[in-house]
């Protein structure tokens, strides 16, 4: 079995198993904790529904904070958008998702994916540098922060290397790329990458709690 066979065969399969089981485990283990009733009289109705608005409104800093957060906001968006476009717009990736789910959609020209992929990597590096040099020592970086960064950066970097044939033979590059995805999938449920789910849930519940009191955030 070659490295590539391993990467896209058993490694991928088990990685997906851990990914699915781990995420459901973590989500349910949290969401099925108690939800005590709040007996105070709400100021508004349908707070829970309105709370979902915060999922979107919080996606951009409010005017008061926009100057202080601009660097991080821009870098984070360049990364996230770049990554999503690469994952969902590059045809070989769409084929991968089609193979798993049956869903498919038209792809983007390759140069879009590669340009945004490069931008995403640069943004990630910029944020890592910021975290490492953290003059204000505010970020309280942990092992999780660095490892999650690595697990996120590796697929982007190896993907670009594979696409541009930079380095070892193509099948090795492709194997490294797929193995890095396997690593990402395995790590996803356990570290801070789960913020993909928590961001939505946390914003919605805070939005609901505030809206209940009449404060729209």
């Amino acid at each position: 079995m070659t490295l590539l066979d391993l990467a896209r065969g058993p490694a991928l399969e088990w990685a997906l198993v851990i990914f699915i089981a781990g995420i459901l485990w973590r989500l349910l283990g949290v969401l099925l904790l108690t939800h005590p009733v709040d007996f105070s009289a709400p100021r508004t109705s349908f707070a829970k529904l309105q709370g979902t608005r915060t999922v979107f409104s919080r996606a951009w800093p409010s005017a008061e904070f926009i100057v202080r957060t601009r660097y991080q906001t821009v870098m984070a968006y360049v990364f996230h958008i770049g990554m999503f476009v690469v994952v969902a717009g590059f045809v070989p990736h769409i084929e991968f998702i089609t193979g798993l789910t049956g869903l498919s959609w038209p792809g983007l020209p390759n140069f879009v994916a590669t340009l945004l992929g490069i931008a995403a990597v640069l943004a990630l590096v910029a944020m890592l540098v910021r975290r490492l040099t953290d003059q204000r020592k505010c970020c309280v970086s942990t092992w999780d922060d660095y490892f999650s960064w690595f697990a996120t950066a590796a697929p982007l970097v190896t993907g670009l290397m594979a696409f541009y044939h930079l380095g070892p033979r193509y099948e090795t590059l492709l194997a490294m790329h797929i193995l890095s995805i396997d690593l990402l999938l395995v790590w996803f449920p356990f570290g801070k990458l789960m913020h993909a789910f928590w961001a939505v849930l946390s914003r919605a519940q805070t939005g609901a709690a505030y809206y209940r009191k009449g404060v729209r955030i």
Binding site: L32, H35, F39, E64, A76, V140, Q205, T206, A209, V215
Partner: protein, 459 residues
């Protein structure tokens, strides 16, 4: 001739009282491992799905420091809001979280030193103002999590001495600083004698139950006087009750939840007995949280509404029942964190100022994103935190100055005390007024006879 002290004098007196608190604080002796056990148990018990989601959500972006007045004024990373919840996160992950079996294996157990370190982070340097939540991309309610940490420290016998002292007194006396029913009655009498203003007390039935507070009872008589003037001017069927008159809830502030619930329940019961339709909370920020937004108070089922003083006044204005003389000054308004951002009553105080034709200039950061004054959530009581508080207040000072107004209107005794301290220490030239006292001074078709009480702090 004014009968009651100016607010500057009130502040001086209060500062003295606070200085004495550590001396009378009960000491809770407990072996270290028991402290840890109790703290952990409290955190475990109080972690519901919401708390768990928030604890899971922090991605260490560090943006919260840009919203926090304690960090902003010291640039000390110790005060970063995200640091306040790290111990709670550790406990959550090891005891409640879905992967706790793994975390127990690899994580460090909680020590009493961790709790000692936590004390400064959740008492001295956090006013539970919620401004960090406004900037957090994940929308984490750090203030609520800090509150749970306080509860844990109380269970471990590790609340700061001043908190322990006031909690102890309130447990015994239902009020603090010696503001007993007798003292209240003699104040009521004095107001009648000196100002001819009658305050109904201990009526069997009344439409409105008004709560006052220790600050007003023991020191700031002008506060109760102003309240009485306004209520009587409005012709409200109101009463004070000696079985339920204290707005302040040190159970909530310190983190003693049993006490918090007991005090809140007591007020609710009294209101029911009296058949009140409305309970008015005096200008005391956290009191609103303890009553109006207390998840245990069955607000939906009880027959009365709970309104903050500024909220009540605002509604009276909006209903056309309260007409006021013009103020003829430029002012700005400071929303108390627990009433505005954490309470939802922004418009009512502004309606009152509008009714006074006040030229209102909003601070650069206002309403949901206004800066905290630095003194709330009991921080004003902590002697140890004086320097920190004073530094933080400078931000507020700058905000007010930036408006070009000649003064600021506040509506919370804790804010007011902090503003007064800041005014004094910085030789600040701005006027600081309480909303209710301002209203009392500007009632249209004012009472003949006694001149209006001197509004606080003109020097």
């Amino acid at each position: 001739m004014p009968v009651f002290p100016t607010f500057e004098q009130v502040y001086q007196g209060f500062a003295e009282q606070i200085g004495k608190l550590p001396g009378v604080a009960p000491r809770v002796e407990m072996p270290a491992d028991q402290r840890v056990k109790r703290a952990v148990k409290v955190l475990v018990d109080e972690t519901h799905a919401d708390e768990a989601v928030w604890l899971e959500s922090c991605v260490h972006c560090g943006q919260c420091v840009d919203a926090c007045h304690f960090y902003e004024s010291t640039q000390d990373s110790k005060y970063a809001p995200l640091r306040k919840i790290r111990l709670y996160q550790r406990v959550y992950r090891q005891e409640v979280g879905p992967f706790r079996w793994l975390y127990k294996l690899v994580g460090r157990p909680v020590t009493v030193e961790d709790l000692e370190e936590l004390q400064e982070l959740v008492y001295d340097s956090c006013t539970e103002c919620g401004r960090c939540t406004m900037i957090c991309p994940m929308g984490i309610d750090i203030a609520s999590l800090v509150h749970h940490c306080r509860t844990a420290l109380v269970a471990a016998g590790m609340a700061p001495p001043e908190m322990a002292a006031v909690t102890f007194e309130q447990k015994q006396m239902r009020t603090v600083f010696g503001a007993s029913p007798d003292v209240l009655r003699s104040l009521v009498q004095k107001i009648l004698d000196e100002y001819g203003e009658e305050i109904p007390i201990d009526k069997d039935k009344a439409e409105v139950l008004v709560l006052t507070s220790a600050v007003d009872i023991v020191m700031n008589g002008n506060g109760l006087l102003a309240t009485a003037r306004v209520m009587n001017h409005l012709g409200v069927d109101w009463t004070l009750r000696t079985d339920a008159y204290e707005s302040a809830n040190f159970g909530l502030l310190a983190g003693d939840m049993d006490l918090m619930v007991e005090l809140a329940d007591n007020i609710a019961k009294s209101a029911e007995r009296v058949g009140a339709k409305v309970v008015i909370v005096a200008e005391c920020g956290h009191a609103y949280s303890a009553l109006r937004w207390n998840p245990h108070v069955h607000g939906k089922e009880l027959p009365f509404e709970i309104l903050y003083m500024s909220e009540f006044l605002g509604r009276q204005v909006q209903a056309g029942k309260l007409r006021l003389e013009p103020l003829n000054r430029t002012v700005t308004f400071h929303d108390p964190c627990k009433i505005g951002r954490r309470g939802g009553a922004f418009d009512e105080p502004r309606a009152v100022l509008a009714a006074m034709n006040a030229e209102l200039v909003e601070m650069p950061a206002n309403r949901e994103v206004n800066w905290c004054c630095g003194g709330g959530a009991g921080v004003f009581l902590l002697n140890r935190a004086t320097e920190l508080r004073d530094k933080a207040f400078k931000i507020k000072l700058g905000q007010v100055d930036a408006t070009g107004a000649d003064g600021v209107v506040v509506s919370c005794a804790s804010c007011r005390l902090n503003f007064e301290a800041g005014r004094f220490k910085n030789r600040w030239d701005k006027q600081v007024d309480s909303l209710v006292e301002l209203v009392a001074d500007h009632l249209k078709d004012g009472e003949a006879g006694q001149p209006a009480a001197v509004a606080g702090g003109e020097q």
